[in-house]
Symmetry: C2
Subunit: 269 residues, 2 copies
DNA sequence: TCAAAAGTGTTGAGTCTACACCCATGT
DNA sequence: ACATGGGTGTAGACTCAACACTTTTGA
């Protein structure tokens, strides 16, 4: 069955209203390998993609996601679909935008709600990569003037998309495709918009903190912040600014070959 | 026909998926009356509400809004519905959140997309108030500790709702009803969330500017900013900060009984 | 003439950046 | 011992709130 046949047989008449879906960019802060027992590993941002098994966009890589069920909210849908399709629990999800353009999906009208999640604790990548259908891709998202480049890399796969940053009304950016590889549907554009929404919001430290575990060191916090903003921060200054958002505990992390780090919690309010 | 009969006769079986809707808080900066030809009028924030003519929530006040059609995006739907129901053109609309809780609407499952619009030029209120079905309400939205009060006033109508600010994940607040009057559906909660999203975003001056006309004076800009943030700003400081976001023209506004004000435009990028 | 907004200058308080420096630890 | 991250101090640059002051207008 070709994609064309598939689409012809798709009974669009049963749908006289849009379908409602959630798509989610699950990001992880991954540590690069280091052979120095003391030195902190470099951190890279990765995104979790799923290879589509069916038409449309068969064999293309896509963000996990799917249609909303009657007994769940959109946030619950995003979490459920991610677990079903990848085995990864995205823990908490942040909304990043709604995509309601008319021709997003060749089957029928679909309104997609985009979310982003950042996993700040080490993820066991092997357990999620079964059958080659689910993979983590290193993310590089850069901008030179008008055009933005989204580069996704995993093993021997590279997906590179050139986009234009178009609208910036109300502080939110949208992107349009120019050239290069594409993810399924408009997922390249959704991923780009979600990354820029995440970066914009992460300027406020409290947003970043919502992705951290209950107890964390200031260095963990800083690594997440640096990975999201994609720039290094001076530890001395970071810790002073972060102090306004956290509360000390009397627990420490030891065993890293240097002075123990105090654990902190999110400050309420 | 009572509300109960109406709901019993509503054929819910025709819907095996959620309906998709947009609801919009149209705000206007309204000038209070002044008898001094020179003195600038006080500015008040008002919201446009529609009295429901049908079940459910017959005779309750509601935000304008309605169901998405197949040939429009959600933004277009919000604009179309506002014009249809009130005769007011909201010009440009900012998304403020999605409400996908299961029991928002007694008829069937409805996913509502909230928008806000701020009208910065004087609106002819009389032309929109036909048949008493559409009215502007002065808005007061205050918070003391845990509980928030939303007070809406128009002529002899006062709608006062007490709510609790509940979740603040990722920088966005949600509200839950405690006591007092209610708008139709969960529109009190949507309005509260939209107002706080607007205030949060308006910290960035460029968001406020997206609601201004193509040419504006710095005083106009400041009045909008003050109405949204609900606090006075020092003109000298405001103008220096705003300078980064605007470009001069060589046009002036005269006739106000004082030195002419230069017109500015939004600075691109 | 004069009150009001338009617009500029200045001062002192506070914040942020960069860097120097000491502390505590596991190998 | 020592490299490394944990953590504090501080000088200079920068930003910002407050207020004083001058300019220009219409009635």
């Amino acid at each position: 069955m070709t994609e064309k046949e598939f689409l012809q047989e798709y009974d669009i008449s049963q749908f006289d209203r849009p379908s409602v879906a959630a798509d989610i960019a699950v990001l992880a802060i991954r540590s690069e390998y280091t052979d120095n027992y003391r030195r902190e590993a470099n951190k890279k941002l990765s995104v979790l993609l799923v290879k589509r098994g069916d038409y449309p966009y068969k064999d293309k890589w896509a963000l996990p996601g799917g249609f909303l069920q009657q007994n769940e909210t959109l946030e619950e849908c995003a979490v459920r679909k991610t677990i079903e399709k990848t085995g990864v629990d995205p823990v908490s999800v942040m909304p990043t935008g709604v995509f309601s353009e008319l021709d997003r999906d060749p089957r029928t009208r679909v309104i997609s709600h985009a979310f982003v999640s950042v996993l700040t604790e080490d993820v066991d990548i092997k357990s999620t990569g079964e059958a080659g259908e689910t993979k983590w891709f290193d993310v590089e998202f850069t901008r030179e003037g008008e055009s933005c480049t989204l580069r996704l890399r995993s093993d021997n796969i590279t997906i590179e998309t050139i986009m234009k940053r178009s609208s910036h009304k109300f502080g939110n950016y949208r992107y349009t495709y120019i050239s290069g590889d594409k993810l399924a549907f408009d997922h390249s554009l959704i991923l780009a918009a979600s990354l820029s929404a995440l970066r914009k919001n992460a300027d406020n430290y409290s947003v970043t903190m919502d992705f951290l575990p209950d107890k964390f060191t200031l260095n963990q916090f800083q690594c997440v912040q640096e990975a999201i903003l994609n720039k290094p921060l001076l530890a001395a200054n970071f810790r002073r600014k972060a102090a306004a958002f956290v509360e000390e505990t009397d627990e420490y992390i030891t065993g890293a070959g240097h002075r123990p780090a105090k654990l902190y919690t999110r400050k309420e309010k």
